[in-house]
Symmetry: C2
């Protein structure tokens, strides 16, 4: 194989299945469901749900993607490093999901956590909104 040399320390360790799943999520930018991913990647050789779920699990573990719990979907992480903490807005009308990457949020959450004496290891915040384009219509 001529690929898989020493290009990217980070992605180098990914296996083929992990890589193609990550690429799909990256290209899409939207939350995708496991079985949709499976269908999309059948031509790349994926043939069973478990292959997808295993890749997804690993990518979540590596912090490269997140699970949007209330949508049973997975989305690329577009923070440099959120250490498995997640915060999304989800449009109630069109379903559009955006990861919130704002230092104010991190600050705010930390404060929230301090004030409430929560001893947290990580968090998942889902804010339901009506997005701009939906509000206009």
């Amino acid at each position: 194989m001529s690929s898989n040399h020493t290009h990217n320390k980070k992605n180098q360790t990914l296996t083929k299945n992990q890589r193609i799943v990550l690429n799909l999520l990256q290209d899409s930018g939207e939350p995708l469901k496991a079985y949709f991913i499976l269908d999309s990647l059948k031509k790349e050789g994926l043939s069973s749900p478990l292959q997808v779920y295993r890749a997804l699990d690993k990518l979540v573990e590596l912090g490269k993607i997140h699970k949007v719990e209330s949508l049973n979907s997975f989305i690329i992480c577009n923070n440099s490093n959120c250490a498995s903490n997640t915060a999304f807005t989800i449009c109630e009308r069109c379903g559009k999901v955006k990861e919130i990457k704002n230092n104010n949020l991190t600050e705010g959450v930390n404060e929230l956590v301090r004030e409430n004496k929560l001893n947290i290891t990580r968090y998942n915040l889902e804010f339901y909104v009506v997005c701009k384009s939906c509000k206009i219509n």
Copy 2:
């Protein structure tokens, strides 16, 4: 029927299925899964998943229970009124779930929302923790 008179304006409107599901969640205090609820209430006459899901949907809509998204479970609401906003701590070790009912949190969230210019309709916050009894061991 001698029950179902005019005792409680709030619960009066609940149907039988809704009432028995609510009671089970109330008595339990823990998050329960739909099919567990079904099994538990077979003797009360429930016989299909749909009966449970319909009752759960209604109770969620009424704000009497919440769905814990990342657990696919439902838990009684122990705030007087959270208007479909939810905030939980979930112990990563034992799975214990507690609803956070702290005015600081509401305040904090509001501030968070203001600072980040989020135009939210509701939110769902899941804080993963290691609870006290798990930390000791």
